[in-house]
Amino acid sequence: MTTDSVKRAESTPDEPMPFAELGMKQDEYDRVKEILGRRPTGSELAIYSVMWSEHCSYKSSKVHLRQFATKAPHSDALLVGMGENAGVVDIGDGWAATFKIESHNHPSYVEPHQGAATGVGGIVRDIMSMGARPIAVMDALRFGGAHQDDTRRVLPGVVEGISHYGNCLGLPNIGGEVAFDECYIGNPLVNALCVGLLRKDQIKLATAPGPGNKVVLFGASTGPDGIGGASVLASATFEDESQAKRPAVQVGDPFMEKLLIECCLELYAADVVVGIQDLGAAGVSCATTELAAKGTGGMAVDLNLVPLRDPSLRPEEILMSESQERMMAVVRPSDIPAFMAICEKWDVPATVIGEVTDTGRLVMTWHGETIVDIPPGTAADEGPVYERPFHEPAGQAALNADTPDTLARPADLRATLLQLLGSPNLASKAWVTDQYDRYVRSNTVLAQPADAGMLRISEAIAGAEPTTRGIALSTDGNGRYAKLDPYAGAQLALAEAYRNVAVTGAKPLAVTNCLNFGSPEDPEVMWQFAEAVRGLADACRTLGVPVTGGNVSFYNQTGSTAIHPTPVVGVLGVIDDVAKRVPTGFVAEGLRVALLGDTAAEFGGSEWAHVAHGHLGGLPPEADLEAERALGAVLVEAAARGLLEGSHDLSDGGLAIALAESCLARGIGATVALSGEPFTDLFSESAGRALVVVRPEAFDEFAALCAEHEVPCYGLGVTGGESLVVQDVLEVPVSELRDTHSGALPAVFG
């Protein structure tokens, strides 16, 4: 079998290469030839094609994502910003948290169980590579209509995969979302978030400095996973025996990942790691080019040393393999024995495959022949950048003009409440979240169905004083809002996640995002993307929370029909004392119920329009970020002063759903009175609102605090009894609310 060496490439300059099959454009291929001064070898083409792919290079999104940096608010908490494996924020008392959300959409459609499982595995490794112990995960999931056949294939598989991988790792799943819309039937969104904890002086970075330092590949061996594309190189170009079709599906092994976690933490503690990178998309190609580009600049690797699960793999395939549970570390030669001993203790195979050099070149050999010789930065950082054309979608004005004003208002608000409460998007998600372990590691303070997940900071690390602190996390997104107005939709997603964190009493600190869109080559989709990024960046500045990292997922479409633009935003907050957290809902009888924030008649993209009329049109609710910020300040301050007994944010379904969910939290009813038009008061989705319950004797102090921050505070009534009573409008026993709320998903999924 011929190896396509650099020497051979020089002597056969005109040999056609299958760049188009690897998704590379002619001008991109020409640029590779210009960089190298010759045609690339098969292995070099493998590296450039994956590193310059949309997924790795962000070539269509980069020009827009820059706003997250240029518009970033100043934050003393930010320790590591965008561009690393995950952002890191200072949470006080010497502790830091690192968190990130990432998509695994397409693999989860092809093979729901393994696709979703490896999505968890991948994001956990990102967090590990920052030097942290992963402490929790959450998943933001979107599926086709609950009644659609394929949803019954995809949803149970995805939920099983997440619970399998996460439960095996022993990581609590503390929140997330489950939403349904027919636009996701061919493109479910599986966005996985992980959060990790570390001492703030122990951050690790993906860098390979110091010539002579060794490059170690450790974890699982490399097999033909997820390299459908690379087989083109291995078989089409070189008159090779016909290769079996390589699987696009990767199978994860959570027990190997668990060993990797513990192994890495011991390696960090022993201080034998100079730089580290996880292997995700683009595997060895990505790890070697990125490590080298951020370090001294050069690296020499012998690919024959990579441990293989399938000995027939060709070098091009080794470079592109996405086999799971692998990491790459840069280690001083004198530390190699200690490094290997720790790996051996944890049963983690580890192999030195090369070393750092000062040549400025990434050089790889295969059976003694040089098959790769490139400047690593050209693959890792200097990929193509596109200013894709974009314009407002042709139907956007008509969509916005089709307001919900003309929809028939319901005569029976009790029936509408029950109809919404039992609809798939608002019904209890216990069928899903009960399959996840929420309390393993025993640091979970709040988990689903609370507004945000909250964890206490409790890790046994030498030198760390005990702390009362905790972190809170929430993810939110609403594709319907973003479809109507992507700028406002992205801001509303941030506002809701921010509010969800604030209602627990935690101060929002930082943002991660997963931007799910259709094809960037469609100018209408690109407009949605550009607007969403602009909106999110502006909102982050107003709310004072920087974006620390995230992920862009393009090409979420079936044929020419794209999903709703769906920016999913995760917010991390910190609370000084977890004992002062605010639980969700009505926690006791005899408490005053108050509504914070103003309500306008805003039904565009609302759950009511969706469920009752199948209507999507008009404009989403206004995103008043200054009001949002003031509301957050009141909630955090009130929690710290011990003024709040319970709280709940208002979002999809409006006040009616928030009241019902608050009753369901502990099975305690309430009697409230409305001051305005009942339908609008109950079902409008105006943003910037929250429900709180306060002890009667603390109410004046709380109302004064609201006045000080200019947050409207309306007393609605009191908690107690066995029914939700909205005076002169409706009355529903809590037991009936519960049956409706908890019965919906089991009725569909069994």
Binding site: A244, Q250, V251, G252, D253
Partner: protein, 81 residues
């Protein structure tokens, strides 16, 4: 009455963590000389009638839709003598 056997195995190129775990456990229990293990599933389908062509075709359909995940698994169908 006939019995049809369906064997389901992960495709050869797909990672098999269970098989690997077994392979790692064998030497600990004193078994040597094993280079690899792959684990699969065996289904015994009892038919009410004979295992004729139509019945076998039916079993194949069962394998295709329920017994095997053909994205990552292969299956074989045979009649037990």
């Amino acid at each position: 009455m006939a019995r049809v056997i369906v064997d389901v195995m992960l495709k050869p190129e797909i990672l098999d963590p269970q098989g690997q775990a077994i392979a790692r456990a064998l030497p600990r229990l004193g078994f040597s000389g094993v280079s690899a293990v792959r684990q699969g599933k065996r289904f015994e389908i009892e038919l009410e009638g004979p295992a004729d062509e139509a019945a076998i075709a039916d079993v194949r359909k069962m394998a295709e839709t329920l017994l095997a995940n053909t994205v990552i698994e292969d299956y074989t169908v045979r009649v037990e003598a």
